[in-house]
Amino acid sequence: MINKVLIANRGEIAVRVMRSCREMGITTVAVFSEADRAAMHVRYADEAYFIGPSPSKESYLNIKKIIKAARESGADAIHPGYGFLSENADFAERCKKEKIIFIGPSSFSIRTMGDKISARKTMIEAGIPVIPGTDKINNEKEAIEKSGEIGYPVMVKASAGGGGKGMRLVFNEKDIVTAVRAAQSEAREAFGNDSIYIEKYIESPHHIEFQILADNFGNTIHLFERECSVQRRHQKVIEETPSPIITPKVREKMGEFAVAAAKAVSYSGAGTIEFIVDDDLNYYFLEMNTRLQVEHPITERVVGVDLVKEQIKIASGFELEIKQESLQQFGHAIECRIYAEDPDNNFMPSPGKIKHISEPLGLGVRHDGYVYEGYEIPIFYDPLISKLVVWARTRKEAIARMKRALYAYKITGVKTSIRFLERIMECPDFVNGKYNTHFIEKNREFLLFSKKHDQKVDDVAIIAAFMDYTFNMEKLEARLFSQNGKSNWKNSGRKISIQRL
């Protein structure tokens, strides 16, 4: 078994990984940048190594420095967390060369799945459904034929494309030729290359992913799905499991495909197969994340498995003990990501010093965070403060519990998304489980609508400020008196004048 793990990460995920290590009796090694000397992962770890300036490139992304810290500390393994070096094939290779266990898949798996083209090719070969599409379209006739085969609506895309340029959405055959011409001309101007291809357009896409675990003995299992369609700018905001739209039959089939997808790249460790799903429950492979996901706790809660421990056991060379047939989803879990951002100001990031924090606790609540009172959230990294995870017997109860938890969760000093998340829990589309990736956009008005003005609450705020000021004035006076003696008439006069203001 691995004895000492260096966690090449920071924030909540570093602390979360260390917790599991501690339960396994494994010594933990933190690495930290200049900005992170006082960060929780440094405080929580058994050992801590400084790895450079605050910008990630010079510290958390610097392979050389991390390997150096691993060697110095004598760590026999590195857990990359998510982000940073977690999907860097070179890093995985380098670890191997240094004879340090990389807690993750092989560099081959990372590379194959990291490149969209090779991933798509591999999936097609393995019989996994991918979004129907064409290679380069050579002429208008081919465009008409192929679009017919795919089925409308289709998206015409520039091969060299990006940023939405050279893209045309087509709903009917009658518009395809015009669209192809327009896309080609736009692409020619934008990229100097007019080659285009055609792909099926998913009108109301759901983002649903499957958690998988694979050991080095050919055992691969899935731990069911996570519904991640509540997104803002392609950033997940809320995840839940089970998905409110998936049926047992579709779940079983998708799970089988997820396992097959992992096997196709000889996957080892924990990974996630992401699918795009439409309203009719057609599903298509989107990509694979070859690491632990931010939202892994909801799976842990509903299935009852500690995924980090499984990662470590697999990396240590143990065989998976969990069998597919012994797994089941029990109850419902929801995760809300709490960001340091200002929803009223276009979600602008809000780093700064935490003045006060009250964490929600109690039945069915898990809170994975890393900030504390007096901690200054640095400007250099991700604005994720914590993840609030609730579990309940039913989806309805889970939503009520999340509302209760968000209600009791208070952070001052930085702006957060807490109230915005509360609105999502109250939004009919979410409550009814009828949402796709357009959810936030569609419900923008409802979600950003602040509660109606309440005169009484205004007045209570005034009372608090007024009394605080009064109390402080009194303290100040008391100090003046004690400094200057009891019968100082000048100060007595001052006191009265202060009170009269």
Binding site: P351, S450, K451, V460, D468
Partner: protein, 165 residues
């Protein structure tokens, strides 16, 4: 005493007080409140047996950011001293305008030079924080008077970055 809450002013008077029980009038509305500071900067207030939790952050000696469950307020205590200072400030016609960022961050790029004439909507500076870049633009045609930061500088919230006229 006058208290400014967001953009309006309220007349506040402490009518009576016994320990932590106070009688306060706000624009003529009377409140009997039981008010206790339970944690540093956090007040528990009972009014007609309703329980309110209010968090205060002191920005300056008379300025607060007050957070109730549902809302945040900028509150300022206006006493004789502040009134005097304000009246003086009004006389002072030398008003300068500056570009600043509401959040701390790092200067990615300064797009103008001192002396430049810029047009409404022009981006003058780009600030990055937490992997996100924000562009700051001028709202009207302006003259760039002074540039106070350089690329790579780490800045605080509300720190003047560029002075414009």
């Amino acid at each position: 005493m006058e208290i400014k809450i967001n953009d309006r002013n309220a007349q506040v008077e402490l009518l009576s007080r016994k320990d932590n029980n106070v009688l306060i009038s706000i624009d003529g509305r009377k409140y009997e409140a039981d008010i206790v500071m339970v944690e540093n900067g956090i007040y528990s207030i009972l009014i007609d047996n309703k329980s309110y939790n209010i968090e205060l952050i002191k920005i300056e000696s008379k300025k607060y950011l007050v957070t109730t469950y549902s809302q945040s307020y900028d509150i300022e205590i206006i006493d004789a001293e502040s009134k005097y200072l304000k009246s003086r400030k009004k006389d002072d016609t030398l008003e300068e305008t500056t570009i600043s960022s509401p959040m701390p961050g790092k200067i990615v790029k300064v797009l103008v030079n001192e002396g430049d004439q810029v047009k409404a909507g022009d981006t003058v500076v780009i600030v990055s924080a937490m992997k996100m870049e924000s562009e700051y633009k001028v709202k009207k045609d302006r003259l760039i008077k002074e540039i106070k930061v350089r690329e790579g500088d780490t800045i605080n919230a509300h720190q003047p970055l560029i002075v414009i006229e």
